[in-house]
Symmetry: C2
């Protein structure tokens, strides 16, 4: 093909200037006469010159690339609720990184020794688990890290963007109570991340405050819809069926709505349903399902901003950045006044 890559030296030669002049012409880091700049630009274009990013990084100590590690194990292989979550977050981070002129590299598994080590200035770890193994490794390597949601066992890491669940969970539960729910059940996820841990805590606290017994069961994020349906069917048929269910994932919320319809349980009159993620499933279910939106766009925006600040040498913030989830009240929890 094209014999050799063209370097800054070739451009300098052709424009009849020194290589440092070429370098500065590109970076704009010192004044260059219009005429010289013009000659350099032409030479570069004619030769098809592109600066070598590795050489630049080696010299400057910066690659202009941040890594993204998405921890939830069901992000890729799970159902479409997880897929949509994954998508929105990755998409938002990518968009924001682009806006900030920063490359984004997908780091599938940092401590797979086979994985190519890539030059990153820092790394965003999204939705870490309790005592997250990968987060530990990144810290050990002294890679500047920002987390999206905190590691529940390491709440002290200040370089984090987190969601403030309690007020929103309270608002949801208060709302259900006002709609005359008397037996609100929580179907929590089984992954040990902040989303599950914190929402569960908030639910428990609310129950305590309101003097009602907590009623919690698990519905793993990893279940297929078939498996989940197997568990939901009996629950809705049981004599002690709750009159409101808050379920972690929105696709299972939609599934509950379908099972309820099949069993002749009326939503919201006999059963209210809400979920802790929002997606196509909750929006288009019949009836539409009340859901807490995780505000991925803002999480991503703040995370990238924090990352760049950290790379630029900013002081550690006092506290993590706090984002509020957004509650969408929909028909599944709106009983008509009798």
């Amino acid at each position: 093909m094209s014999g050799r890559r063209v370097t800054i030296r070739d451009v300098a030669e052709r424009a009849d200037v020194s290589i440092s002049t070429v370098s500065h012409a590109f970076s704009g880091s010192r004044p260059i006469s219009a005429e010289t700049r013009e000659r350099i630009t032409r030479a570069a274009n004619e030769l098809g010159y592109e600066p070598n990013p590795s050489a630049r990084s080696l010299r400057t100590g910066r690659s202009g690339i941040v890594g993204l590690i998405l921890r939830p194990r069901f992000a890729l292989v799970g159902t479409s609720d997880r897929a949509e979550t994954f998508n929105r977050l990755v998409g938002s981070v990518a968009t924001e990184a682009l806006r900030r002129k920063t490359g984004l590299i997908h780091v599938p598994d940092i401590d797979d020794p086979r994985a190519a080590k890539v030059p990153m200035d820092g790394c965003i770890v999204a939705h870490p688990y309790s005592g997250d193994r990968v987060l530990t490794e990144v810290l050990r390597r002294h890679i500047p890290v920002v987390t999206v949601e905190e590691d529940p066992e390491r709440p002290e890491l200040p370089w984090a963007v987190r969601l403030d669940y309690p007020p929103v969970v309270d608002r949801l539960l208060d709302h259900l109570k006002r709609q005359h729910a008397s037996d609100i059940m929580l179907l929590t996820g089984t992954e040990s991340n902040a989303w599950n841990v914190r929402t569960r805590e908030s639910y428990r606290a609310w129950c305590r405050t309101n003097g009602v017994p907590a009623r919690i069961d698990e519905l793993s994020e990893g279940l297929t819809h078939e498996e989940a349906a197997q568990l939901i069917g009996p629950l809705l048929a049981a004599p002690d069926r709750p009159d409101a269910i808050v379920v972690a994932t929105s696709d299972f919320a939609a599934l509950i709505a379908r099972v309820a319809a099949a069993q002749g349980v009326r939503v919201p009159d006999e059963l209210m349903i809400a979920s802790f993620t929002d997606s196509e499933h909750s929006r288009t279910a019949d009836p539409a399902i009340t859901a807490m939106d995780l505000n991925h766009e803002n999480l991503a925006k703040e995370a990238v901003e924090l990352m760049l600040a950290r790379i630029a040498g900013a002081e550690a913030p006092e506290k993590p950045v706090v984002i509020s989830p957004v509650l969408h009240l929909r028909a599944s929890t709106l009983r008509s006044p009798h």
Copy 2:
């Protein structure tokens, strides 16, 4: 923080060997005595040494990173059918890249001058448009490229993995005909990529062969469900309603099924429905919808393999690699024998 990054020099000093010995100990590219190797390994661990990827790339001329450019503009912002497609492809490419010890970098917009230039050995461009602008730019820069699906205007590029639509489209249409469809309508997408262009061509060819008029209308991939429903409603209410609709995207197929149900049009007896992507929507629709699966996993696998071969200096293949889409016949096109 940690004063300075630790380099190969520090390790050499501490292990009391030369830096070249350290280098070779890591790369295994020449015999090292067990004892020396042991000293080096210990020193490296104690110091927390990690080779600098930029220095390595600069020296070797390889970064071990390939870029992924996903072209369809609705991949990120579109509905969940597009999201699922995006997901499966990115996920599959990432997985395969990992298996091959290759880093994967997300390239959002190659010719945005603001975007950081990243070191990539090559670049996968997925689902290019006709005369794709970004593909042109990548070629101009002499970046080794492999496309997933061909640019319809550049079918001659041999470094491509493509889907072989005609046989599968024929099988689908033959199947519909055997189920006594007499008026099969195609609702094609409006994006000018191979998927739309080739399936449309195949449909036209089949109509010609079978001596029936082609009946094509457009349904843009960019429409919201509401907008699409506005167009579908009248179509199903019209006196010349087709008795089978093949629609590009699976979520619109599911939407058609819902609109049909609402209008009392029985599927599949009065109307058969099929789609040219498969997703959660087609699988879980009622009735489940016949769909063509784009086989993203195999596309990704072959694309990564081709990319690595190309980087390694392999000869250009004679022809693109050809993958077959997979047809899933489901209830939406299975009429009970009368």
